[in-house]
């Protein structure tokens, strides 16, 4: 296999607070290949977005990378500062945020927002950038793109705006796109379109995608592999079909069982007892031990085994326990 | 464990105050403590001015023109008397005039804010509770008034009130006219906050319940709604006090406030400005510093109070 586009090794993010240091991302490792869509799934507060922000260098101080490495196309980028990191943003790493209603500057025409991004990163003329802006809008399926470049964001619907946001994230042809809950704020009817669009564009260009979501439906529909996060740690990583149908980690299993999509036909949805621990109160050993039906003293004391692709970070992985 | 509840000694009011969050944040804020100390010292020395001041500057018998223009801490060339902050052209002790001047400044400031507060709360409660045309008229008036800087409104009211006062009473009435003018220019803030809170509280169950059991509107407004708006009112009052003190000083400095017979800090600065070029800097400097200390510390206290009582603002 070729070198991965993105490679994260043992990444930790720390935030110093009054009550001590919390670690919203704790020793996470994964790779994303060109053209591959990796889904990052977990409850809110599990550290999904924080990992994405760390990759693109937009952690809000005092949050910072405390440990680990981030490699992008063979170049180490976790220690890059200021302008060097800025040059990568937009150019090599595109980002799509959750809420298209607030992601676009309301006072600038969308054409201007596209051209300024291209002119920042690409050695092209303004006229060329304007031409490409129209093409970019056409590509994301905005009808009448030639006129709509002169429109302001408020003149678009939510779904159309998210298409504009995707056009903006992709306009400088980045090799990695981080999509942070790109469909959460959208109508259900529009969600599938946006996911399909994102998948098509990235497949065509061979772009690697980190798709952050809490929606198992989106994961099932769009991703090639999936990483399950719990309390800042990776619980399970593997091909999407395996993880969804044969989850090995008790948490993933609980998560799948509590998803309407996966538990079709069952009369009641499963519930995982308790709640995810607060980040300043993660228990020793496995972070999930207090909620896990299979937990033993080993889980409460020893650190969980190191996780490899296709495995779960669990002493007692579930074997062939089907959800569906 | 006994079956009887152990009687708990009720906390004293002082204990409650000392245990409160407000006092806790106060202890943690050096700015607030220093400001409060400065305010306390200034207010006390204003209140007890007759006891502290070495001379009564408004008793002609105690004045000696020969003492005029004595620099601070230097014996006078003719009389040999020495003054902590020097004397002015008439031989009045500057320190004493400041103490008496501060009395007037503080009295006008506090009275004006109190007037504005009572007026604002009353109009705010009424417009929030009654609604309809009453509300429209009160709040539109507030809007129009808010279009203009309050100092201008105060000047105008002062001018009109002066015009209405018979000439022979003008100096005597000046202080009261000043209070009226500053108070009237400053009620809008209170009214807006109180009205907003009233609109929220009015529809809560307990107010409906009070209405059902036949409480009169006045009782409901005073007993149930008013207590809910006290903390924002306190914050506005503190900040308004700083503004009122500055407004009073400004008006008096401009010669449309406290008369020379009852000089406030602003009047003293107005008088002192005349001696700036001839080198008698102390006549101007000490009143100016006092005014600054007073205004700044009240302002800082108000800032702190706003943050402490409502962290969501700002």
């Amino acid at each position: 296999m070729a070198d991965p586009v993105l490679s994260i090794r043992d990444l930790s993010v720390e935030i110093p607070t009054r009550h001590g240091i919390v670690r919203p991302v704790d020793g996470v490792s994964y790779d994303i290949q060109a053209g591959e869509i990796l889904g990052i799934v977990g409850e809110s507060g599990a550290g999904k977005s924080m990992a994405g922000n760390a990759v693109i260098g937009l952690l809000n101080p005092p949050a910072h990378i405390s440990k680990g490495e981030i490699w992008l196309k063979g170049q180490r980028i976790d220690h890059l500062k200021g302008d060097a990191m800025r040059r990568l943003r937009g150019k090599e790493i595109g980002m799509v945020f959750q809420d298209p209603l607030t992601s676009l500057n309301p006072l600038l025409r969308i054409g201007d927002q596209l051209t300024e991004t291209m002119l920042t990163h690409l050695p092209i003329s303004r006229a060329e950038a304007e031409k490409r802006a129209v093409a970019a809008l056409e590509e994301v399926g905005i009808p009448g793109a030639a006129e709509r470049v002169n429109s302001y964001p408020h003149e678009f619907s939510g779904g159309m705006r998210q298409r504009v946001v995707i056009a903006l994230a992709l306009c400088a042809e980045p090799s990695l796109v981080i999509a942070d809950e790109p469909t959460t704020a959208l109508d259900v009817s529009v969600q599938a379109q946006i996911i399909a669009l994102l998948r098509r564009l990235c497949r065509d260009r061979g772009t690697a995608v980190m798709l952050i979501t809490h929606d198992m439906g989106v994961i099932a529909e769009a991703t090639d592999r999936v990483a399950v996060m719990y309390a800042g740690r990776l619980a399970e990583l593997g091909p999407v079909r395996d993880v969804l149908t044969h989850p090995q980690h008790p948490y993933t299993h609980g998560l799948m069982a509590s998803t309407p999509l996966a538990s079709q036909g069952k009369s009641r949805l499963h519930q995982i007892p308790g709640a995810m621990p607060r980040l300043d109160a993660v228990p020793d050993g496995c972070a999930f031990n207090s909620r896990c039906p299979h937990a033993t003293d080993k889980c409460r004391q020893a650190p969980v085994p190191r996780l490899r692709n296709g495995q779960a970070a669990c002493w007692y992985p579930l074997v062939d326990e089907k959800v569906i | 464990m006994s079956d009887f509840p152990i009687p708990v000694k009720p906390k004293s009011r002082l204990r409650i105050a000392l245990d409160s969050d407000l006092f806790y944040t106060f202890k943690r804020s050096p700015v607030a403590m220093v400001s409060a100390a400065v305010v306390l010292v200034l207010v006390l020395s204003a209140v007890f001015a007759p006891l502290i001041a070495p001379t009564n500057p408004f008793n002609p018998a105690s004045l000696n023109l020969m003492n005029g223009f004595t620099p601070p801490m230097t014996p006078n060339a003719f009389t040999g008397e020495s003054f902590f902050m020097g004397t002015d052209d008439q031989g009045r002790d500057v320190f004493s005039t400041i103490l008496y001047g501060m009395r007037i400044s503080l009295f006008v400031g506090v009275a004006a804010v109190f007037f504005a507060m009572v007026l604002g709360i009353t109009l705010g409660l009424i417009s929030g509770y009654v609604g309809g045309w009453t509300e429209t008229i009160i709040m539109r008036t507030a809007d129009v008034q808010l279009t203009f800087p309050s100092i201008l409104v105060a000047m105008l009211i002062f001018g009109i009130a002066k015009g209405v006062t018979p000439v022979e009473y003008r100096d005597q009435m000046a202080i009261w006219v000043l209070i009226l003018a500053i108070g009237l220019s400053d009620w809008v803030q209170f009214a807006r906050v109180v009205r907003g809170a009233t609109l929220v509280e009015k529809n809560k169950e307990y107010v409906q319940a009070a209405r059902l059991i036949g409480r009169t509107p006045t009782a409901i407004m005073l007993r149930h709604i008013l207590p809910n708006v006290l903390s924002p009112v306190l914050v506005i009052a503190t900040i308004s006090l700083a503004l009122a003190i500055i407004a009073e000083a400004t008006l008096s400095f401009l010669g449309v406030g406290a008369p020379p017979t009852q000089p406030s800090l602003g009047t003293l600065i107005r008088i002192g400005q005349g001696f700036l070029f001839s080198g008698e800097w102390w006549i101007l400097l000490f009143p100016a510093i006092t005014l600054l200390a007073l205004a700044l510390s009240v302002n800082l206290l108000g800032d702190w109070l706003r943050d402490a009582l409502n962290p969501r603002l700002r």
């Binding site: 595109g94 300024e116 003149e155 | 401009l254 600065i269």
Partner: protein, 326 residues
């Protein structure tokens, strides 16, 4: 858009009518005009004749209408104190105040925005913190003390700049300007700093807090995530959005500058309308007070209206054209 502007203009006209009513009430009821115009030795006929001549025997509404009619034509009556038409005195004094207000306004806006942006972008820098602390003192410092302080420093101690008046002026067809002579320009420096400093502090603090708010917005994060240069993010994206709410306040501050000029003009004996107004209050010269009130209201209301219209050019959301597909 047109409907919005018409509605705002209607509201402005209403405010002016109310202010006109106040001004008229001052005229009519404060300091009896008959008393003021006729001396001590007056007869009943004199009073009757003057009442008829001034229209004081007519119904209130008619009098109010006549007053407004006069005011619109610039006829504000005769100053009790100077015995000259108020309009004439105001016109003579206006250039001094307008020039002072203009220079102060420009200073306040330029420095206020620049410092506000600086303290917002460098929010944790030591210089930004020093500026913020200084501005808190600036807000508590009464304008007249700033003026006195400047006079003491630059006129008394250093002797560099004049402490009063507006220096030599050049008459340009009824407009006396201080911009064309060295002494006129020198005389402008201290008063315009005094007048502009407070407004500058306000604008700076407002710009800072608005900009900090804007910098937290998603579209700023998105702009950064697209790798735009800091300059583009801060100025093209953040500053433009900051200015939307700031412009209203700046508009109001410009009006306030003309009102606060009263204080500065008194400190520096600047021969403008503010000084005229203070003297009018001291001597209860009602026609001058009323005229000043009307004049300043027209300015305030005019500026407010202008600001509202300006919004349409800054914020496309307000233009509310229906071309967008929804």
């Amino acid at each position: 858009m047109l409907a919005y502007i018409i509605r705002r203009a209607g509201q402005s006209a209403l405010v002016l009518l109310i202010v006109g009513l106040v001004a008229f009430a001052m005229f009519r009821f404060v300091g009896d005009p008959i008393d003021n115009m006729l001396g001590q030795e007056r007869t009943a006929e004199d009073i009757e004749r003057l009442r008829a001549q001034l229209g004081l025997d007519q119904p209130f509404v008619v009098q109010y209408y006549k007053f407004l009619e006069g005011a619109v034509q610039g006829n504000f009556g005769v100053s009790y104190r100077q015995g000259r038409p108020v309009a004439e005195i105001l016109l003579e004094r206006a250039p001094a105040t307008l020039e002072l207000a203009m220079v102060s306004g420009v200073l306040a806006i330029l420095f206020g925005i620049a410092l506000g942006v600086f303290t917002a972008i460098r929010r944790d820098g030591w210089l930004a913190n020093v500026i913020m602390s200084a501005s808190l003192i600036g807000v508590s410092l009464p304008t007249f003390l700033i003026g006195i302080l400047l006079i003491y420093l630059f006129s008394v101690e250093l002797g560099w700049l004049p402490s009063f008046g507006r220096g030599e002026t050049v008459d340009l067809g009824g407009w006396s300007t201080g911009f064309l002579t060295e002494s006129g320009l020198k005389a402008l420096i201290l008063p315009s700093i005094t007048l502009g400093l407070y407004q500058m502090t306000l604008i700076m603090r407002l710009v800072r807090s608005e900009m900090l708010e804007v910098l937290r917005q998603d579209y700023i994060r998105f702009a950064r995530a697209r790798g735009l240069r800091d300059r583009a993010v801060n100025f093209r994206h953040a500053l433009k959005n900051t200015m939307v709410p700031v412009i209203t306040v700046i508009g109001l501050q410009l009006g306030a500058i003309i009102a606060f000029a009263i204080i500065t003009e008194t400190v520096f004996q600047w021969p403008g309308v503010g000084l005229l107004f203070i003297n009018a209050i001291q001597f209860v010269d009602i026609p001058v007070m009323a005229a000043y009130l009307m004049l300043i209201s027209v300015m305030f209301v005019g500026i407010n209206l202008l600001v509202d219209i300006l919004y349409f050019f800054i914020d496309p959301r307000l233009r509310a054209d229906r071309s967008g597909g929804h």
